[in-house]
């Protein structure tokens, strides 16, 4: 299937999901669905670097937080530009402010992409556990910076007042429905990009890096350039996933934004679904995300990480190639005489 057709199909499926959710008239569906979609984006973005290239990033929360705090900073700036900007800039930016969330997502994506590029450049020579530790260290450094940055609330955190509704042309919809829709579109875009990468020249290059970097270089693969592309694309999408979050949650603070659940889920979801295909993170995110949402309302949100941990250990031991790998092995076994 061609990429544009895939995009159109995925968008149509998304539209049907959105229409069904609207019909059910349940705000909870949108709240829970937003989180699941957010994890679809995070898991797919993580997989571009971790699954396709084999570079395990433990710093997903940092990229997500870049998106979150870009929104916080720009929203605060937009609320009172005269206080924070020089006069000549106020006149330039006033007609544009406050920025709509899609614009915040684009800016957050660019910033997180630049940080991803920088991280890739600084960790060029690192692989395996050393790369993972470096990404973790980057998250700690960024968290420290945010804690000490008063403009975005520092360790106190920051409040964002969510409007009650949003306008889509002539139609007015609830703000949570609007956020759900934005995340749905972003999920469709990131899945299309991941699938496009997988089937392109870039995907073959990434796979060769994952399997054997030395052999890839000997085959003419510019491994350095490709790794930088992977860290940039992956970081950018994680940042974009974080940008609407302050409007969803209403209050953000560093300990939660840089929290373990984002890093762990971003890794666990592709690992459980399967890392070699765009479908793996999607399956993993829907499965784990839904399970966590169900656990939150039936037991407690405290068991969320327990569920992830138990499933991750189980899959690593029993099916290290994830659900996709299990299905592929089963199909291959059937095909052999």
């Amino acid at each position: 299937m061609r990429s544009w057709l895939f995009f159109a199909t995925a968008l149509s499926i998304g539209a049907v999901v959105f229409a069904l959710a609207l019909l059910l008239r349940s705000d909870y569906l949108f709240f829970a669905g937003y989180v699941v979609l957010q994890f679809v984006v995070l898991a797919t973005a993580w997989n571009i670097l971790g699954g396709y290239c084999g570079y395990v990033n433990f710093g997903s929360a940092a990229f997500f937080a870049i998106g979150v705090y870009t929104s916080v900073a720009l929203t605060k700036l937009g609320a009172n530009p005269a206080r924070y900007l020089p006069e000549f800039l106020v006149n330039v930016f006033k007609p544009l402010l406050p920025l709509p969330i899609p614009a915040l997502q684009l800016i957050a994506g660019m910033l997180a992409g630049i940080v991803g590029l920088g991280m890739g450049y600084l960790t060029l020579r690192l692989r395996g556990v050393f790369f993972a530790i470096a990404t973790l260290a980057m998250a700690v450094v960024l968290q420290t910076l945010i804690i000490n940055w008063d403009f975005v609330g520092g360790s106190r955190g920051a409040y964002i007042v969510r409007p009650s509704n949003a306008w889509l042309g002539p139609f007015s919809i609830g703000y949570i429905e609007y956020l759900f829709l934005l995340m749905l579109v972003l999920a469709v875009i990131v899945l299309t990009v991941a699938r496009l990468i997988e089937r392109s020249r870039l995907g073959y290059g990434f796979a060769s890096i994952r399997d054997d970097e030395l052999a890839a270089e000997a085959c003419g693969v510019p491994t350095l350039r490709l790794k930088l592309m992977a860290t940039t694309i992956s970081g950018a999408f994680m940042g974009m996933a974080g940008a609407p979050f302050p409007y969803y949650i209403g209050y953000v603070e560093p300990a939660a934004t840089f929290g373990l659940p984002y890093a762990v889920n971003s890794i666990a979801m592709p690992m459980i679904g399967g890392t070699t295909s765009w479908l793996g993170p999607l399956i993993g995110a829907i499965l784990l995300g839904s399970l966590q949402q169900i656990a939150t309302v039936t037991i407690s949100s405290a068991v969320n990480l327990l569920i992830v941990g138990v499933l991750l250990v189980g899959f690593v031991v029993i099916a290290p190639k994830g659900i996709i790998g299990l299905v592929e092995d089963w199909r291959q076994a059937r095909a052999k005489p």
């Binding site: 073959y204 796979a207 060769s208 399997d211 054997d212 030395l214 052999a215 000997a218 085959c219 003419g220």
Partner: protein, 245 residues
């Protein structure tokens, strides 16, 4: 081009206090078949790594078609027309055999040629290459399904897929049967007839002697002989150092 295709001048490489290569001078002419021999640990693979950019030489210069390769990354050297097979096969384990060949075809050949743009053309070229080493029936299989011997063939054919001007075959015949060695030699000779220069690193002397137009001998990181096969084999220092007589 009138000068040699590959020119190595006073190349040296150290690992801490250990001198792996010292003052190596070597050249390979366009279309030449060079045998590179030496006991284990003599520096053959280190020299190959310095030529191909896997390692940076500490001293001296490596030139390819008159251009210095010092400081160029391995992938850039492959783009210029240098390709190597690894002594221990390093296939891309998650990719099928055809896709293993697709990597150099996409990243090395497509850069130099306007051909091979459609997936069908790439598929056809992959199959053609696999046919050369008798692996076309396993084109869709993964390397884990191959025997060690087939793995070596895949390693060689992947280097060939980059369509190099100079191919460095590092112990591609280890473990092969007599008839398979003959097949590989015939394959390398056919490539050479197309104008590709070949450096053959091998311990199987029969193969080196029948294939090479010239042989260079390394011992303890130094070149001790360089000449026609008959001359080198009768060289007293080679006999004492390499053949152990």
């Amino acid at each position: 081009m009138t000068g040699p295709l590959l020119e190595i001048e006073a190349v040296g490489k150290r690992f801490g206090g250990f001198v792996a290569l010292e003052g190596i001078d070597l050249s390979v002419a366009q279309g030449e078949r060079l045998g590179l021999i030496g006991p284990n640990g003599s520096g053959k693979s280190t020299l190959v790594n310095c030529i191909c950019g896997t390692l940076n030489n500490d001293a001296g210069t490596v030139r390819f078609e008159g251009r210095s390769l010092n400081g160029l990354a391995a992938n850039q050297r492959t783009h210029l027309g240098l390709a190597r097979s690894f002594q221990l096969p390093r296939p891309f384990m998650s990719l099928s055999l055809a896709d293993n060949l697709r990597i150099p075809l996409i990243y090395a050949v497509r850069r130099r040629s306007l051909l091979l743009h459609s997936p069908q053309e790439l598929d056809a070229r992959c199959l053609e290459l696999l046919r050369m080493v008798g692996l076309e029936r396993k084109a869709r299989r993964l390397p884990r399904d191959l025997t060690q011997v087939e793995m070596r063939k895949l390693e060689l054919v992947r280097a060939m897929a980059a369509e190099p001007k100079l191919l460095i075959a590092d112990e591609v015949m280890a473990g092969l049967s007599h008839s398979e060695i003959e097949d590989i030699i015939a394959l390398l000779l056919r490539l050479n007839e197309q104008g590709i220069s070949i450096i053959l690193i091998e311990h199987i002397m029969r193969a080196v002697m029948s294939f090479s137009q010239r042989i260079a001998v390394l011992v303890s990181g130094r070149k001790i002989a360089d000449g026609k096969p008959a001359e080198v084999v009768n060289n007293p220092s080679v006999v004492s150092a390499y053949l152990g007589q």
